[in-house]
């Protein structure tokens, strides 16, 4: 068996087996004599579109669409509704304010249920609060939502019961302050993954998400507000829907074609098409409902905008699932980067390929190697080698 020993000084008693040369007997090896035969063209192998039996490179996201895409929708609705609630309160529109506050409280409550339910170990959800990590959008979001949810719930409770109006005002202000964060961090959460369709959309994703949130909150406002109070949400509906449509286009415009495929296939495509139709319809209906002073038209517009927002979130979610499953979506952009970005420059890559200059002959081990220049604690300093050999002796004699 493996009788070599790994020691701090290097591998000892190594067998020569690992120096074996692959293909040493094949005919082409005989032609190796000439120096020109040492290297084939740079394009060797590079043009071959490769995958391992067509299997995805990435592991598929484990998030449930209903819980996570549903949360993106509900969280956006809640966050933007808290802004609407504050605006309505400050401009004397109590019915709009109440609807937005209750909507935000309900949406964020459902959100938290969905988020906990999606954990592999729901009973450990509080472990999220062990740390605060700016490198983890989920950690940042946990803390934002932990501040936001109590404020949104308190604002709604004070409004509905009429008790503690001062507390209610502070809570409404706090919810409105954190609301935009709740509505936008989810875009970073999604983009900060290796999933091509999500990561490559990172520049536009936050704008798509906040526009979608505005559109959803406006939709809720159109449903709940009285005629006299519906003006602002009508304007917000048009702005939100327009933003959602524009951002949806920009999101995919500059993507590598292999990545964009995620958005142009299957369920993602159906949902995003539905979202566009619903958003456009909702915006037009919102204007019509304002002009015709029809509560029914406004409510229909609101429902369409809410549905559009939900379709956007689920569409983006499914696009990511599709692209994570597609090895070409992972390899395509990386290959393009390796084979010359702007200006055809070969960029420093993960790989030292035959086309790139091979690392020169190995340099001798540096005298200032870590193990010599720095103190190694306890057993690694003192008896790692003896342990390694001792372990072998014990293990093989028994």
């Amino acid at each position: 068996m493996n009788v070599s020993r790994v020691t701090k000084q290097g591998l000892q008693d190594a067998r020569p087996g690992r120096d074996a040369l692959p293909g040493a007997k094949r005919p082409s090896a005989a032609r190796a004599a000439g120096p020109g035969g040492r290297r084939r063209g740079d394009a060797d192998g590079a043009s071959r579109p490769g995958s391992y039996y067509g299997l995805p490179v990435l592991n598929k996201p484990v998030w449930e669409p209903r819980e996570i895409a549903g949360y993106f929708f509900l969280g956006g609705l809640a966050g933007a509704s808290s802004l609407v609630a504050l605006g309505a309160e400050l401009t004397g529109r109590p019915q709009l304010a109440r609807g937005a506050k209750v909507g935000a409280a309900g949406a964020i409550s459902l959100s938290m249920v969905a988020l906990v339910k999606d954990l592999g170990r729901p009973e450990r959800f509080l472990n999220m609060m062990r740390v605060f990590k700016p490198t983890s959008p989920m950690s940042v979001g946990t803390w934002i939502v932990s501040g936001y949810a109590p404020a949104a719930l308190a604002a709604a409770a004070c409004d509905v019961t009429g008790r503690f109006p001062a507390v209610g005002r502070v809570a409404a202000g706090g919810a409105a302050l954190l609301g935009p964060g709740v509505a936008s961090y989810t875009a970073v959460l999604l983009s900060n993954t290796a999933v091509p369709a999500w990561h490559e959309g990172r520049a536009v994703m936050p704008f798509l998400f906040t526009a979608s949130a505005a559109s959803a909150a406006a939709g809720l406002g159109l449903i709940t507000a009285a005629e006299a109070e519906a003006g602002p949400v009508g304007r917000l509906a048009v702005a939100g829907a327009a933003g959602e449509l524009v951002a949806g286009e920009l999101l995919v415009r500059r993507m590598d074609p292999t990545v964009r495929r995620g958005y142009e296939r299957g369920r993602a495509r159906a949902l995003l098409t539905a979202s566009k139709v619903l958003a456009a319809t909702g915006a037009v209906a919102a204007v019509a409902g304002g002009v015709r002073r029809s509560r029914a038209i406004r409510a229909a517009a609101g429902a369409a905008l809410l549905a559009a927002s939900a379709c956007t979130r689920f569409g983006v979610f499914y696009a990511g699932i599709t692209s994570a499953d597609d090895p070409e979506a992972t390899v395509g952009p990386q290959r393009a980067r390796l084979e010359g970005g702007p200006g055809g420059q070969q960029q420093a890559g993960h790989l030292q390929s035959p086309g790139q200059p091979a690392p020169g002959p190995p340099s001798p081990v540096k005298a200032t190697a870590w193990s010599e220049s720095t103190s190694i604690p306890n057993r690694w300093q003192s008896d790692a080698s003896s342990r390694l050999s001792g372990e072998r002796d014990g293990g093989e004699s028994s």
């Binding site: 692959p22 490179v57 990435l58 290796a194 003006g231």
Partner: protein, 269 residues
Amino acid sequence: MTVTDPAAVSGWLDHPPRMGFFTDTTVCIGCKACEVACKEWNAVPEDGLSLTGMSFDNSISLGADTWRHVAFIERRDDAGDFRWLMSSDVCKHCTEAGCLDVCPTGSLMRSEFGTVVVQEDICNGCGYCVSACPFGVIGRREEDGRAWKCTMCYDRLTDGQEPACAKACPTQSIQFGPLDELRERADTRLAQLHGADVPEARLYGRDPDSGVGGTGAMFLLLDEPEVYGLPPDPVVTTRHLPGMWRAAAIAAAALAAGVAGSFAGRRSS
């Protein structure tokens, strides 16, 4: 931005050298002893016993219950010669590890050996690491709800032993040791192969300036990485995170401004 000592960056003041794997696929014989040794030592549960028809590969890919995976590639090259490539894949223990960056509970941590380890008593199964890994290594064990991956046999390392897979490898295709030393050895081997008319030999994960800052598990491959199911130029997602936070801040401000603007308009009757 090159991190040379990830353990120190993570707060280990006094620590052993960074340990790693160098998997030389040119001498891999596809025996799967590494897969078996890993499963046995780490008590990784069975995850399907079906036959895939993909050459000798029936473990398919890395995941929660497969921490070593031997890939088998049957290829006929341009000259018509048949080649059977084998490669034992494993967690890369990246210098800049996406899974570790995004973990919201701190369950994933950097060990004193510079490796990346899941603390199973803390993981709450949020699944973020699964989507963040550019190599498709870490997975969530569904019956258990937590994320699992190669630990580089953390328990064995702390006891001065080498990981089970390297110990079991009969051809020393899997070599374990201090990463500095493995890099030297990988360079030597690459030069040897290039000198022997094996121009397709290449090192994968060796370059500290790559998108993940180099890996703690390097490979010597005989074809493009994607042929082995490896991404050719992965970049840790968090490299782009500052820009994403900036975009989100602008988008959040735009949302607030949009709502404010819609209320600032004329008072509707």
